[in-house]
């Protein structure tokens, strides 16, 4: 094993900043990351074994123990639960002969839950090894397992026609695009990237940045930082090297537009990155691709290769003194890596822990150098702004929110999928467009956004100063149990908290317990008051955006739907607190007694 690991290490020049890639290669080879391999890595990388475990154990998709020849991850999201998740789970357990979180006796199947895998328009869905299966029924799920048992691999089952992985047909076989409207900015067919880049390179970098500044485009990842300003800071920042990173770690539950952009318009994204590199003076770019989109990797590599072939990437791009390379960095399963500093840590082979800011990545990012991190959609939009001009873009949308954006729509509607909307459109208009059925609530921007009431907020508009949407829109009709949804979201944050700071690590658990207490009918008004206070505490004192957002499912539903909470509250009667569970407190003795007496008799 030592020499095999050595070979992998050599491939990465024993560079510990490539630890994530190295671990993926090891896991690919052995099915998990064996202790012996970790020891070899420890020597090769001059890291203690525990240091390597730090990274391994941070990521959901790395396994330090045998975890099944086929690893099956069933997406456990609110949307999946609305569409039959429970039945699929049961079918899988039955078919695989093991429960979730375990490996079957033969070591063939490992069943795992995972959070949203970016397929909310076609749930229930599961990842099996490197591919995905969507729109699952219990029968379809069992069939997949049956075929795996017969020795076929997941790829053969998902892709029976044998499409090449570098082909878009391969991606299309696995997942649907579901683009429902053609807007002015995205998914434009037959673009001449070469001519466009020529046009761009005729401009001075400062002119490119000025164009973006005038267009008023703001980052599409959610925070809405002005892109022109970020690039200006990047240009002005001092560093021997600068980096451009495309954040394709689309982890917010309910969003999948980056997946579709990368599938349908990868060139737009690559071109946007090249423009950024030109503008700030960078020679190296990274696409940070979440593991859940593993099936896009070869296709994207092919697209990148196409750009090299056309002279749009590599050395002396289009004959100019401008070199730029792009590589793909696979993630390994951590929502928090959507935070740009956590993403950078992950690119450096470490735990995806958000950094302390300042310094900001645009000053000191990847490998300590100025780094411009933008969302997939931002890069795609930039490529269109350079093509059509700043005025064209600015005239769309509203004063402070220019242009359009993509929405990933899921939940209770006729046509889940991708919609391009102009900023300024109202919630009601969007709901009508997507064919929402008796909508009661809409979750704007996923769990980290806000839950709005269709009745009270229908006329609110999508823009940075009102419904500032990061691309996720989930629709819930009147039959949905919002408290259960809130609980699911809170559990998501508990799962995904990196644990580096106290409020997020400790506080989210207490908030989850509060909502569980409400659901169990053991909460009184004091619990709600505490929930608000603790929520505010976590929001204000956490280190990164995850903690700043995590109490929002509770806080926003409490504000918009107070009645669903009030309905569940109990009035304290007598001295005992409603939260005190007398049954649970008293049953332990009896259970312990019976177990020991039973043992005695055997």
């Amino acid at each position: 094993m030592h020499t095999e690991v050595q070979t992998i290490l050599e491939q990465y020049h024993s560079d510990k900043t490539r630890l994530i890639d190295i671990l993926w290669d090891v896991q690919q080879k052995y099915g998990f990351i064996p202790g012996e391999a970790i020891m070899a890595l420890s020597e090769g990388l001059n890291m203690s074994c525990n240091d390597i475990h730090e990274t391994i154990s941070f990521y959901h998709f790395f396994h330090a123990r045998p975890s099944g020849k086929h690893k099956i991850y069933l997406a456990d999201s609110v949307i999946a639960r609305m569409n039959g998740y429970d039945e699929i789970r049961e079918a899988l357990e039955q078919a695989c002969g093991c429960t979730f979180g375990a490996v079957d006796e033969s070591g063939t199947f490992g069943l795992y839950d995972t959070n949203c895998i970016g397929l909310s328009d076609q749930e229930p869905a599961m990842m099996v090894d490197e591919v995905v299966f969507t729109n699952l029924t219990p029968k379809k799920a069992s069939d997949v397992i049956a075929q795996l048992k017969q020795g076929r691999d997941a790829n053969q089952i998902a892709n029976p026609d044998g499409n090449g992985r570098r082909d878009v047909a391969y991606v299309d076989t696995l997942v649907k695009g579901n683009i429902h409207n053609q807007g002015p900015v995205f998914f434009k067919a037959d673009r001449d990237f070469k001519a466009l880049l020529e046009k761009c390179l005729e401009m001075l970098p400062d002119e490119v940045i000025e164009t973006l500044t005038v267009s008023s485009i703001r980052g599409r990842g959610g925070a809405g930082f002005p892109t022109g300003l970020k690039w200006r800071l990047g240009r002005e920042a001092e560093g021997d090297e600068k980096y451009v990173i495309c954040n394709a770690d689309e982890g917010e539950p309910g969003t999948f537009k980056d997946r579709v952009l990368l599938t349908r318009s990868p060139g737009d994204v690559l071109l946007g990155m090249i423009i950024a590199a030109y503008a700030i003076g960078s020679h190296n770019g990274i696409i940070y691709l979440r593991t859940e989109y593993r099936y896009l990797k070869e296709y994207l590599e092919q697209q990148i290769q196409g750009f090299y072939d056309q002279g749009l990437l590599g050395e002396q791009i289009l004959g100019k003194a401008f070199d730029f390379d792009i590589r793909i960095q696979m993630g390994a399963g951590a929502y928090v890596c959507g935070d740009e500093t956590a993403l950078i840590e992950s690119c450096e082979g470490k735990r995806g822990t958000p950094r302390v800011k300042p310094p900001y990545p645009i000053q000191q990012g990847y490998l300590g150098m100025p780094t411009c991190v933008n969302n997939v959609e931002t890069f795609a939009a930039v490529s269109r702004i350079i093509e059509e001009g700043a005025e064209w873009f600015r005239t769309m949308g509203t004063n402070h929110s220019s242009g359009t954006r993509l929405l990933s729509v899921s939940g209770d509607c006729q046509h889940p999928g991708i919609y391009e909307i102009e900023w300024g459109i109202s919630l009601n208009e969007v709901l009508q467009m997507v064919g929402a059925r008796n909508p009661m609530a809409a979750q704007v921007s996923g769990p980290s956004g806000e839950c709005v009431s269709v009745e009270k907020d229908g006329e609110r508009v999508f823009c940075y100063s009102d419904l500032s949407c990061n691309g996720s829109l989930m629709v819930f009709n009147e039959s949905r149990d919002l408290l259960d949804i809130v609980k699911n979201f809170m559990r998501f944050f508990v799962d995904e908290s990196c644990g580096i700071c106290v409020p997020c690590r400790a506080g989210n658990i207490d908030l989850l317990r509060k909502i569980e207490r409400v659901i169990a009918g053991r909460a009184c008004q004091q619990d709600l008051d505490e929930g608000v206070r603790w929520g505010k505490l976590v929001r204000n004192t956490s280190r990164c955006g995850l903690g700043a957002a995590s109490p929002k499912p509770i806080l926003t539903t409490l504000e918009k739907f107070p009645e669903i909470y009030q309905h569940k509250l109990v009035q304290p009667h007598g001295a005992l607190l409603p939260a005190f569970d007398m049954d649970a407190a008293l049953q332990g003795h009896e259970l312990a007694y019976k177990a020991l007496v039973q043992e005695e008799m055997e």
């Binding site: 001059n46 890291m47 203690s48 240091d51 106290v502 400790a506 207490d510 004192t541």
Partner: protein, 234 residues
């Protein structure tokens, strides 16, 4: 460059870019800390130095001061947040002061007293955390770890600079780990350094503890507040 900021309304003249928590201490204003070590890279993990900066709550150890900053330390809401963060730590692990070797010289305990914590307002969790006593001279009492990361970042093997302490898993499942082989190579003064660096009783030097009688222990002789202000003024 000399700049002016205000802390609780008092004007302070200081150097641009200095760390807020240090600036405050130099001027006799105590902001509690647990993970911060003056002169070392900012860890920013405990958030106990949270204060209001121009209206926003920020951890004072992460804030480089700039001209015109308006800082509120002694403001009821943010003071209560600092106290609440300490309370979180007391329920998250098992902090049984009466049976702890570090009692009387524990930063967390001293802060709890300093901030007037009588009880935690959060539910006590009693997590199961297995202690690790395999190293020859270090006892790792995981019940007490607060994940400040001081040991992880600042205690390295002197020969290879590899990590001796590390964190496994994430979020609420995180646990502090020790590399036994490297730990057993640590010279005695480095063990002492690690034990003293640990703000709680998680890293304990075997055979050390309960040395000073009650009433004459570190923080009984001089409170954590006095020590912080005194150290910074030097």
């Amino acid at each position: 460059m000399s700049i002016r900021i205000t802390i609780d309304g008092n004007e302070i003249i200081t150097q641009d870019g200095a760390t807020l928590v240090d600036v405050a201490a130099e001027n006799g204003i105590y902001i509690p800390t647990l993970c911060h070590l003056k002169g070392k890279p900012c860890l920013g993990t405990c958030r106990i130095c949270s204060v209001r900066v121009n209206g926003n709550v920020m951890a004072a150890c992460t804030v480089p001061v700039s001209d015109g900053l308006e800082v509120e330390v002694d403001e009821p809401e943010v003071s209560d947040m600092r106290k609440a963060l300490v309370e979180f730590l007391f329920v998250e692990g098992n902090h049984n002061c009466p049976s702890c070797e570090k009692s009387g010289r524990c930063d967390l305990q001293a802060l709890g007293c300093e901030l007037g914590m009588m009880v935690s307002r959060f539910p006590y969790r009693f997590p199961v955390r297995i202690r690790d006593h395999a190293a020859k001279r270090i006892w790792l009492e995981r019940d007490r770890c607060i994940f400040c990361q001081r040991c992880v970042q600042f205690i390295r093997d002197r020969e290879t600079s590899r990590k001796i302490f590390s964190i496994k898993d994430r979020g609420t499942h995180a646990s502090i780990e020790i590399d036994i082989e490297l730990a057993d190579k640590m010279p005695p003064e480095q063990i002492r350094e690690a034990a003293e660096l640990c703000p709680v009783g998680c890293i304990i030097e075997k055979g050390v503890g309960y040395n000073d009688p009650i009433g004459r222990r570190k923080y009984e002789i001089k409170s954590i507040r006095e020590r912080a202000l005194e150290r910074k003024r030097k």
